[in-house]
């Protein structure tokens, strides 16, 4: 998280890591809720589908942030970001890349080039990676919620 903000952004949350085979899925759950699970007194084992918000994935040491992580960063991004104009925001939310002329501001953090994409109101709208030629490649955007059909 230090790539984007202060380390205390996850204070009050627990990280639950689940081995899914090739990757480790990272789920973020509110600590005050998580600590109540054992108090239920019943049989939860083997029935849990998910807990908290699926926020990231680590595959072969590569960190892949997911849309759920944007919630905790909202209003707290200090570095590792790119701010885009309105036209680029619309295009980005369709799953497309950001062209250099769409960038209003950029502040890399040096963390493997993964950037939080912010709109003009500084609301997080996705993840992207800087590439050659000034194009910012779309990794994952909020439009996925609509396109996924789920």
């Amino acid at each position: 998280m230090s790539c984007y903000t202060s380390d205390d952004v996850l204070e009050g949350y627990e990280l639950v890591c689940v081995d899914s085979g090739e990757c480790v899925e990272v789920l973020v759950v509110r600590a005050s809720a998580y600590e109540k699970i054992p108090t239920l007194g019943g049989e939860l084992a083997g029935k849990v589908f998910s807990v908290g918000v699926h926020s990231a994935r680590v595959c072969r040491d590569e960190f892949k942030p997911l849309l759920g992580l944007l919630n905790v960063l909202r209003g707290r991004v200090r570095r590792g970001y790119v701010v885009v104009n309105e036209k680029s925001e619309k295009v980005f939310l369709y799953g497309r890349d950001i062209l250099p002329e769409g960038v209003l501001e950029m502040k890399p953090s040096g963390c493997k080039g993964v950037l939080v994409v912010l709109n003009r109101k500084l609301e997080p709208i996705g993840w992207a990676r800087a590439s050659g030629g000034g194009v910012i490649k779309n990794m994952l955007d909020l439009g996925w919620y609509l396109r996924s059909g789920i």
Binding site: L44, K47, V53, L67, I125
Partner: protein
């Protein structure tokens, strides 16, 4: 299915068989393209043929379209300003403080950026009321049984962002939709469980629970596409399931705990009958919902009487409240 459930539902079957019906029922059914049994069920709860006609003549235009502001992320004022700037015309929900009625929108509500950012959830106006009746703020743990995609789970989280919410559904497809909604809306205090909701008592004991039960959809007549011809036999199949679902929650409740039972149905069979069967069996009392709207529950239906405490349930009707048809009851387990 347990024998005791079968026996109780049999009493309804016998009631249906012996209840006569006049020509008005067939005329009503034919004119409004509903099953004759459904027309008879409506007349049975409204006790007025003319009012049944009035209800069935309501079309989708007359029912409020609404969204629920996600107060975890944003204020109602911010949503009104942001959507207003895009040409969406909004008004206050008459019964829910963080609800908005949508009068006009130039673009589909699900495609707006504010929806993608989790600033609101598209939810029917009556559908927002069960969580208000439950009043989950301050509860350590809340069970949402048959949670589906999480409309009410995420609403509970708005009232209670720190307690544990246990959402149960048997469908992996719906649980995946729930997972995405939790991510989109920024809700971090939910454990989702895949299991048969008839066995939620295996999970432990809860101080509060919500069951928005699968139902016939009798209350959805204004929505032409959702209108399905439901015979009494169709409805009784659902009643059997609803009794088992509510019974399991009754076993899972802590003494003094409360459950809100709701359906998008106006039928007596799926509401007051289910509630009275389970409350009698498990020592639950039907209490006031605390809701500012709705007609009284029905305690007499074609000569069949149930405990008058069901009158504390609340019924919403399209022709009276401009909402989808809905019934909401609150029950408390005796200490």
């Amino acid at each position: 299915m347990p024998d005791w459930v079968r026996e109780r539902v049999m009493s309804l079957r016998l009631l249906h068989e012996k209840t006569g019906r006049g020509r008005f029922v067939s005329k009503l059914a034919s004119r409004y393209m509903v099953h004759e049994d459904q027309a008879a069920r409506l007349i049975g709860v409204l006790r007025d043929e003319r009012e049944a006609l009035e209800l069935l003549s309501v079309t989708e235009d007359a029912v409020m379209k609404s969204i629920r502001v996600n107060t975890i992320k944003v204020s109602k004022k911010e949503v009104v300003e942001s959507l207003g700037a895009k040409g969406v015309e909004l008004g206050d929900h008459p019964y829910v403080s963080y609800g908005l009625v949508v009068y006009e929108t130039p673009v589909s509500l699900s495609a707006l950026h504010e929806h993608l950012m989790g600033y609101y959830y598209i939810q029917g106006p009556a559908s927002m009321l069960p969580v208000l009746a439950l009043d989950p703020a301050g509860l350590e743990v809340v069970l949402d049984s048959c949670s589906g995609a999480g409309g009410k789970t995420t609403q509970i989280a708005q009232h209670n962002p720190r307690g544990l919410i246990v959402s149960v559904d048997s469908s992996p497809r719906k649980l995946l939709a729930l997972k995405n909604n939790l991510s989109r809306l920024g809700v971090y205090n939910v454990v989702s469980v895949r299991m048969d909701a008839k066995r939620v008592d295996e999970l432990g004991r809860f101080p509060g629970a919500l069951l928005d039960a699968p139902c016939s959809g009798d209350g959805l007549t204004p929505f032409h596409k959702k209108r399905r011809p439901r015979s009494n036999e169709d409805v009784l199949g659902r009643v059997e399931l609803q009794i088992e679902l509510l019974d399991s929650i009754a076993r899972a409740l802590k003494p003094g705990g409360s459950v809100v039972y709701s359906t998008c149905s106006t039928s007596f069979e799926e509401n007051e009958f289910v509630v009275s069967v389970v409350s009698e069996r498990r020592g639950l009392g039907v209490v006031e919902t605390g809701l500012p709207v709705g007609e009284e529950g029905v305690d007499e239906y074609y000569g069949l009487r149930v405990d008058s405490s069901v009158r504390r349930c609340r019924r919403l009707y399209p022709h009276k409240h401009m909402t989808e048809g809905f019934t909401i009851c609150k029950l408390v387990k005796r200490p």
